[in-house]
Symmetry: C2
């Protein structure tokens, strides 16, 4: 395929993408396929000879779409949202074309520099303490990781590297292995200090945890993977109070801030802590501007894509106000669903509804709720996943898609309520 | 931006991308900017109000392009290639639109299943031993990691988890911490067993290492990040001999197999080894087809994009023959450059030219070669990086771009040769 054919096929794909997203609610949100469905639909080996684009393109509907769970359908209420916006998709096209591997400043200065500045923009939107910003002379700064899991791992490794150095400064006779074998990591059953847990969007009290960590020289990492996006709204910013005690912080704009996956934003107060844990510099990566930010020292992978383009496009095309309105709309829809649940005496709300997630259940046994969830998902009209809260089987209703409106939430509730009625009528009185 | 505007802007972006790649050789391969150039070109904070797309679009040339190192220019010979092809970009557009987070089979069956089948396709192209394939009943299988570093880390963790279980089976009294503190990892100065090192594309003798590892129950991981793509050609496949002794293997189609970054292919003989090290299953990730491949158990991140689409598009639109022709062309260009160097008595070849990398230097001091490289890169006509081989400062000429032709290689050599002449004339006789 040459550039001329790409012009033609690329434009067809733009239309396909627009059609897909415009009409997504007509597709069944959860697929009907059984495990192994795909292998039988395609050859066992790659073709020897090139195939035509037409043949590839028509297989999207034949092979792929029947097995897709449509995360961007307004009938998708499972897990947590994953971001999807047109500006982010345009930026990703540009990212693919530039195709630089930004492991050092020299490998593509724009890639490293835009990322640093975008993480400053985002840090200011969240009103992070100044310590976390790079600015022109700051000691802190941000970096894009792939996922929150990676950010947490990086924080752990940085914390370990820092404390080993501290202890060795006082006790030069102790080996690294010996020190590491004595280290302890504290966590809740959701792991690190979490603002907005996955099961129920619960918040750890970091204003209490923080001073203890600081006094005891414990590295505090805060993960706000889902909830973090909401902190751009002044009314939700208090949920981030205590951040000033943290050493590192991350959240996922790829969840709820309209920046397509993957984009997990991570900040540290002292970037030397994190760089110290990872720095590795063979000659082929050395260049004249060695101190100008080598983000590969902030992460496990060496290579990295030009992901900050997505942030730049999205923030500029929505503006802070547009992004705030988006968050508020989703929270509003969750509150609307909460009211519907509360108005039905058969149901109970299982956790405070703080942001876009509603945890709810039928008053009754876990088995009853498991059956209800099974019927909801088997009906394929909407898609939910459960969680376990204090031994109880709970249904999670997460407002996910960019195009979810009040009518979808109302429709989802009618559907759930109807299935619940059917189920309860079947029970022996 | 709504779907209607995306249709228009997306098509403009397709043209911009096609223009960029068609005319890339007219752009200076390495940028002129100094560190910090970008911060002064854009505002210090994200805008409150939405901006127009026109304003964002025109900033690509004003803000971004002046700071881009053009990895896909035929004058780029630095590091190793990073893949860039039109079919992969089309697939990435689709991947962005579907935007599923394929951490489990249920989260999007097509995402998990196509990945498994594509890794089987690719494994067959490399003639990997049957053990590494998933098939319908195999115990092995492949997965896409982001980078080779991640694949290596996963292999280390899987190896650790496996040996701890083995030792605990014989010695139930020994704690995991105690066992781990006694473990040893063997590596060369390029880390694990490597086929095609980064400095010089050297090959470890895995047919010698392998039997020792097997006899001593040492997990053998082989990394062929760059060279692996070449193994699809029968004439280069012998370089992979010994793979039958390995427990895990990875290479990067995103380097040399026309699949855009990120796409590092990793296979294991026993997928239970790797899954055992990572399995983590909260209720919200459980589903009815739990055993149908949850790739999040194969990696550090939980989330994952639909990256196998890129492989599917590229393999079908090039065909195996097209991909082989691409590899052979690059190797041919490297051999052509090698001949030019060998024909010039002032230069020497510093390592066997096996694939697309030529390591060479002026006969003389390291300082002389450092000066030559500095002049080459300062002239900005081509871009190279150095390496160190047995204490010698060596220049690396890696054939990188998809559009590199003989004329570019000839031109690059004329340029290097000319700069060398200038430099040598300046020296005192």
């Amino acid at each position: 395929m040459d550039a001329a054919e790409f012009r033609r096929r690329g434009k067809e794909m733009v239309d396909y993408v627009a059609d897909y997203l415009e009409n997504i609610e007509k597709r069944q949100v959860y697929p009907d396929v059984e495990p192994g469905y795909l292998r039988s639909l395609i050859p066992e080996e790659a073709p020897e000879e090139a195939e035509s684009y037409e043949d590839v393109f028509k297989d999207i509907e034949r092979v792929i779409m029947p097995g897709v769970t449509h995360w961007h359908s307004p009938y998708f209420y499972a897990y947590f949202p994953t971001a999807n916006s047109f500006p982010a998709m345009l930026a990703d096209m540009l990212c693919g074309a530039i195709g630089c591997i930004g492991f050092s400043w020299a490998a593509s200065p724009a890639c490293t520099e835009l990322e640093t500045v975008m993480l400053d923009w985002l840090g200011k939107m969240l009103k992070l303490p100044e310590d976390f910003l790079a600015g022109t002379e700051g000691r802190g700064g941000g970096v894009i990781q792939g996922t929150a899991s990676e950010a947490t791992l990086i924080a752990l490794l940085a914390a370990r590297s820092k404390i080993v150095k501290l202890i060795q400064a006082d006790h030069p006779d102790r080996s690294e292995t010996h020190i590491i074998s004595k280290l302890v990591a504290y966590s809740s059953d959701q792991f690190c200090a979490t603002l907005g847990t996955t099961p129920s969007c619960a918040f750890d009290c970091v204003t209490e945890l923080g001073p203890i960590c600081n006094a005891e020289k414990i590295w505090m990492h805060i993960d706000a993977a889902y909830a973090g996006s909401a902190f751009i709204c002044p009314e939700f910013r208090p949920l981030l109070n205590g951040i000033e005690f943290a050493d590192s912080f991350n959240f996922n704009p790829h969840k709820w801030l309209l920046v397509n996956f993957d984009c997990s934003a991570m900040w540290v107060k002292n970037r030397s802590d994190i760089i110290g844990a990872f720095k590795m510099e063979p000659l082929y990566l050395k260049h004249d501007h060695q101190e100008s930010g080598n983000h590969s020292h902030w992460q496990i992978p060496l290579g990295r894509r030009f992901r900050s383009l997505k942030i730049w496009f999205v923030f500029r095309m929505y503006g802070l106000k547009g992004l705030q309105a988006y968050i508020r709309k989703h929270v509003g829809l969750a509150k609307e669903f909460e009211s519907l649940v509360r108005a039905d005496q058969r149901f109970e709300i299982s956790a405070d509804v703080v942001l876009g997630l509603v945890c709810f259940r039928l008053k009754g046994s876990n088995e009853l709720n498991e059956t209800l969830l099974k019927r909801i998902n088997n009906a394929r009209k909407i898609h939910l996943v459960p969680c376990q809260l204090a031994g109880k089987f709970v249904l999670r209703f997460a407002v996910c898609a960019r195009t979810t409106e009040s009518r979808h939430v109302q429709e989802a509730w009618c559907h759930i309520s109807h299935l619940a009625s059917e189920l309860l009528q079947e029970l022996p009185h």
